[in-house]
């Protein structure tokens, strides 16, 4: 089938099978909310299981299998579809029925006159608007999302995986049906399976399930624009107020030249050494030495070349924390790294990679990213590569990291009220 890619991990180790299907499309402010609403709408009912109760009964009958809407942002690609997990033990082969159900959800939704049901679209639109609004309820996640939005206003990356509230509010069932059909025809599709079945069986089951898939001109041009330099010469600073006692600090960095021809293993190890591992430069200094916070960590988006650092602090410690984080980054750039720190960072990455091989859901996420990056090596190979990363490799990866934006969410004057 043109533009449909399948990745299989065959193993008898697990009692859980995983199957996922994602449509890939360019992340875009105009369409992000529509794309994000679609899997939820499709998951409301199909021709043969027309509502949630009928779908639930079918899944309960399969030993409580799950199949859930999935919406992800991978660099500047939006991936929407479904992920399923189900019991996978001898004598209870659920691959066939799960593949069939996934195909039905994607291609045979409950419609009237060829249009998605207005009630389903309205309900899922409400849910999407609520979800977008509810981002603020998780203070740390909200701060992270705001930093990205404010840091990348002119880049697709600044768009949230769920889109924005106004576009979500504008969703209607006629336009969404049209959008759905266009998306089906043009999107490359990534399928992932992990379980006891042979790849040939998986391909056959999914081919059967996707027979009605319309294929038009497939948009293979989607990808992520990597910006190497910062937007302004000095980091932009953004502050916002919310009724909180703990301040949430998030800093955004561009990885710079390291993204020209990225050495993925070196990037992983650099991030682990600086703030992504435990312990690391940030935890040892910002948390343990200076007692400034409970959490502080860095996260690297290796598709976009953006690294963020997040911490929850007493607002009075803002300057002190910012300065210490800057100092620790400079130490990495200067190669002020002990052998012990190198060993810990390498071990953190390699052990994380090896542990992935025991976790089907984590493998699913890993392989989808690898496929989008065009990388064909697995977690074991990446673990081995990480073991070979040297201090010089880390210094090279960190050399051109530039701070682009600082975001701080902190408490205003208002008191909350008991009533």
């Amino acid at each position: 089938m043109p533009g449909v890619f399948v990745t299989c991990v065959r193993t008898d180790k697990f009692r859980t099978g995983i199957l996922s299907l994602h449509l890939l499309t360019a992340l875009d402010r105009q369409t992000a909310a529509q794309n994000a609403a679609l899997p939820g709408v499709l998951r409301r009912g199909t021709v043969s299981a027309p509502d949630l109760a009928a779908l639930a009964a079918r899944l309960d009958g399969m030993y409580g299998a799950h199949i859930e809407p999935s919406v992800r942002k991978l660099g500047e690609i939006q991936a929407v579809g479904f992920t399923a997990d189900f019991v996978d033990v001898p004598g209870r082969d659920l691959l066939g029925p799960m593949a069939e159900l996934m195909g039905e959800l994607l291609l045979a939704p409950n419609t009237r006159g060829g249009l998605l049901l207005p009630g389903y679209v309205e309900g899922e639109k409400r849910k999407l608007v609520d979800l977008i609004r509810a981002r603020m309820n998780d203070r740390a996640e909200y701060a992270q999302a705001r930093l990205v939005e404010l840091m990348c206003p002119g880049e697709a990356y600044g768009v949230d995986a769920l889109g924005d509230e106004a576009s979500a509010e504008a969703i209607g069932y006629v336009a969404l049906t049209r959008h759905y059909k266009a998306l089906l025809a043009a999107s490359p599709i990534e399928i992932f399976y992990c379980g006891s079945a042979d790849p040939a069986r998986v391909c056959a089951a999914m081919t059967d399930a996707l027979v009605p898939l319309p294929r038009g001109e497939i948009d293979f041009g989607i990808g992520t624009d990597i910006r190497l330099n910062t937007v302004d010469e000095t980091p932009r600073t953004f502050t916002e107020e919310m009724d909180v006692s703990q301040g949430k600090l998030v800093i955004g960095y561009r990885m710079g030249q390291a993204m020209e021809d990225p050495d993925m293993a070196a990037l992983w190890v650099t991030d682990a050494l600086f703030g992504g591992g435990w312990p690391c430069k940030l935890s040892a200094n910002v948390r343990e030495r200076l007692s400034l916070c409970y959490y502080v960590y860095s996260e690297l988006d290796r598709m976009k070349g953006i690294m963020t650092v997040a911490s929850g602090i007493d607002p009075a410690d803002y300057e002190k924390t910012l300065a210490e984080i800057g100092r620790q980054l400079q130490a990495v750039k200067d190669g002020d790294i002990t052998d012990g720190e190198m060993t810990v960072a390498r071990a953190a990455v390699s052990s994380h990679m090896l542990s992935l091989t025991d976790d089907p859901a984590a493998l699913e996420k890993f392989w989808l990213e690898q496929n989008l990056l065009g990388l064909d090596y697995g977690p074991e190979e990446l673990a081995a590569l990480a073991e070979d990363v040297s201090r010089e490799d880390v210094v090279r990866a960190a050399a051109d990291i530039q701070c682009d934006a600082v975001y701080f969410l902190y408490g205003g004057e208002e008191e909350d009220a008991e009533d």
Partner: protein, 421 residues
């Protein structure tokens, strides 16, 4: 170590008890890269008052959690570095009922196991390190206090139990942790970290005999006495108050409803109590339950809705939490479901789904090891679950649900600021 086979589950369990009283559980998983060991003490946020060797102690809220933070200090520095150098991921958590220290690793399992046993059994505290931690835990408390979900939950626990072992936050407050000293931590460690009050649970491609050997070599040989806990008078089934609400910066009202179900059982009844609650809640409010689907379709509940049964401080209690434009209406509909008849075919499907969930738990090392510890402290065999589940009937569920009368259910709401009147 005794080997107990469960061919119908495709799994075997090795079980033994050291002369010092430490129970050990190992589930070998041939072919897996990852190993997980959990060294768990039967000591949580609710265990505030206790007696040991004739002396009584009354400790402030947050001690169990403070102790958890400080256990990672060893005379040579933080034990984090030791695990990290081997690529192991070590961490801990404190709940109302237990404190669990655990690691996962893909390499050097036995060395990591020895380090785990060693640091958890070594109380090394200095006034400086205890003081230093106050800033870090202070920020952890601040984070909880800003978290609307946690605020809704704590509001509900207050309604059910009032201030005290279950009504106070496990992490404590800035005030309650202010006076914690080296002596407080030492006394609590002595009382609750004796091997006979703990359990060691392991899953992975490991040699069970080697696990036993390591524990016997690292841990103290003598069997210490176990503390006697005092949770105060039996709290009764009615909440102290039925409603509370406050405003915070949230997008929509968040709620947490809860009910006390009476004393927590131990022995085989403890397992039966847990499975009955799980199956009943699934039938009443699960993703397939008519009440949930109706509320979802009316947009009165969304995917954030969840429920749980808990066993701590000698009590069984449940809570239901989520986001709703009208929490009172949502709760009324959820409670009305408790008085509806359950369709037998639906009931059978829920049983089947719960059985599927148990099978999947066997691959989830976190859930598996923590559930084994729960079984150990409450004296039941986790692997009896399929048989107990099979024996449950619609009538059991109806009897469980009948206790949930509206006057027994408390509701805590966090409202958005615009709603303030």
């Amino acid at each position: 170590m005794r080997r107990i086979e469960h061919p119908e589950l495709g799994i075997e369990l090795w079980q033994g008890t050291l002369p010092n009283g430490l129970p050990i559980y190992v589930v070998p998983k041939p072919g897996w890269r990852k190993c997980r060991a959990a060294f768990v003490t039967d000591y949580g946020g609710a265990d505030r008052r206790f007696a040991l060797d004739g002396e009584t102690y009354d400790t402030p809220a947050g001690v169990a959690h403070y102790l958890e933070h400080k256990m990672f200090d060893m005379p040579g520095g933080s034990v984090d570095d030791v695990f990290a150098a081997r690529g192991a991921n070590a961490n801990a958590y404190t709940s109302e009922a237990v404190t669990s220290y655990h690691f996962t690793c893909a390499d050097k399992f036995e060395e990591n196991l020895r380090t785990l046993l060693e640091f958890v059994s070594t109380p090394y505290f200095t006034p400086e390190t205890v003081e230093k931690e106050r800033g870090i835990i202070g920020q952890e408390i601040a984070e909880f206090e800003d978290d609307p979900g946690a605020a809704a939950y704590m509001g509900c626990m207050r309604l059910l139990f009032g201030a005290g072992p279950l009504g106070d936050m496990v992490v404590g407050t800035a005030a309650s942790i202010a006076d914690i000293t080296v002596e407080t931590l030492r006394a609590c460690h002595k009382a609750f970290y004796a091997p006979a009050n703990m359990a060691l649970c392991v899953a992975g491609d490991v040699d069970p005999e080697a696990v036993e050997r390591a524990a016997a070599e690292v841990l103290p040989a003598e069997r210490a006495s176990r503390p006697v806990r005092d949770y105060g008078p039996e709290p009764g089934l009615e909440p102290l108050e039925k409603r509370c609400s406050r405003t915070m910066d949230v997008s929509a009202p968040l709620f947490c409803a809860g009910a006390k179900l009476g004393p927590a059982a131990t022995g085989p009844d403890g397992l039966r109590q847990r499975l009955t609650a799980e199956l009943a809640m699934r039938c009443l409010w699960g993703r397939s339950a008519p009440a949930y689907l109706e509320l979802y379709e009316k947009s009165l509940l969304n995917d954030s809705f969840r429920f749980e049964s808990s066993y701590a401080g000698g009590e069984e209690y449940i809570y239901l939490e989520g986001e709703s434009a009208d929490p009172e209406a949502a709760l009324a509909a959820l409670l009305a479901a408790a008085r509806r008849d359950i369709d037998p075919a639906f009931f059978d499907r829920q049983k089947k789904a719960l059985y599927g969930g148990f099978i999947r738990l066997l691959d989830d090392f976190w859930e598996l090891t923590e559930s084994l510890a729960d079984g150990c402290f409450n004296d039941f065999d986790l692997f009896d679950a399929p048989a107990v589940l099979e024996s449950l009937t619609c009538a059991d569920i109806a009897a469980w649900a009948a206790r949930l009368t509206p006057e027994r259910v408390a509701l805590s709401i966090i409202r958005p600021k615009e709603e303030r009147s």
